[in-house]
Symmetry: C2
Amino acid sequence: MRHKENYEKHVAQRRAHYESEDTNGRLVINLRDISHTMRDLSEGRGSQKRVLILLLETGPITQRELTERLGIQPGSASEVVAKLENAGLLTRTESESDRRTVDVTMTGEGERQAKEAKSQREGRHREMFAALSEEEKSQLLGLLEKVNRDWESRYAQRQCHHQGRHGKHGPHSEQEGHELRHEGSAEDRPHCNHDCLNCPNPCGKGRALRESGR
Amino acid sequence: MRHKENYEKHVAQRRAHYESEDTNGRLVINLRDISHTMRDLSEGRGSQKRVLILLLETGPITQRELTERLGIQPGSASEVVAKLENAGLLTRTESESDRRTVDVTMTGEGERQAKEAKSQREGRHREMFAALSEEEKSQLLGLLEKVNRDWESRYAQRQCHHQGRHGKHGPHSEQEGHELRHEGSAEDRPHCNHDCLNCPNPCGKGRALRESGR
């Protein structure tokens, strides 16, 4: 009972707060809400489904490359690969190209489940934007790409290796200045909140900060 | 050197992946990138600045209510409040309305710093959308609200107490069905990824999952 009252008060407070915000503030709130729901909906960065879908796209690759593409810690990648191997969905063999790692290859059953997971994901993505017409989707995509392109240059220092994430949004993404943004030691730059293993200057602070609950 | 090569390969892979996606997939990628940058830019849920800004909006409140509004653990709230008290930015006094908690009141210097933090946040929000015209911003806001309104009903089960977060987007947010969505025990529902203390049925699984790195 107390919970329900609190909850209703909370909803009312949120609504009042939203209404007191200007367009910029409302954009931020909407984007944050969307990101929360998206996180709930996604397979998870180191999930078995995500690994299977990735392998479907890449074909057989080394575990080292798989780990880099997933953007997770090597230990976490090892763990999920071992689970998939135990379930008979992939095999690990000595790598011919790189003796320090192993090649990861899907089995037939792995491929079947990967296709199923991929089709689930596509269905989820269709459903996520089912409220919008095709025209509205294009409009939304154009606006989001414009924001992301602007942020690539505006927040380059902060984004650190997110250039890797962002360097793809539309026609202006071929811009110069990549290297410049990555000069200086990790300590000189603000922390990044990601764990991408491909950053030329990984600072490693993001994860620690995130886990500390900030 | 190896880092730089890896990094360039990574950017190329990301771009190829982006281009292989349809509109829905690209929307997801853009929204995810935006949420990553936004997280880097924000003050942080339990940061001193956020507490000050909140107190500016609410005026003196109990520490219990402050904790609920921040949506963080009581221990974290205690910690940040103690820091602000030690810095002379707020005072804690016995609460007259609720003996189990204390009243939190900003000092003059606290208010000054709160106003500064609020104006920094507003400046940041302006800057974030500076690439868009006023018309584009309204368009974007309208589309995001449409998506969020749709998700409120579509993913109600998943969103759990996010109704509290979402129950405010535009004219359809007064819809019925709130209670219904919150029936059943926490175990019956999928986990939620948030730690809102106002959820009538908090499941508490989200935080654990997030911290396990999934």
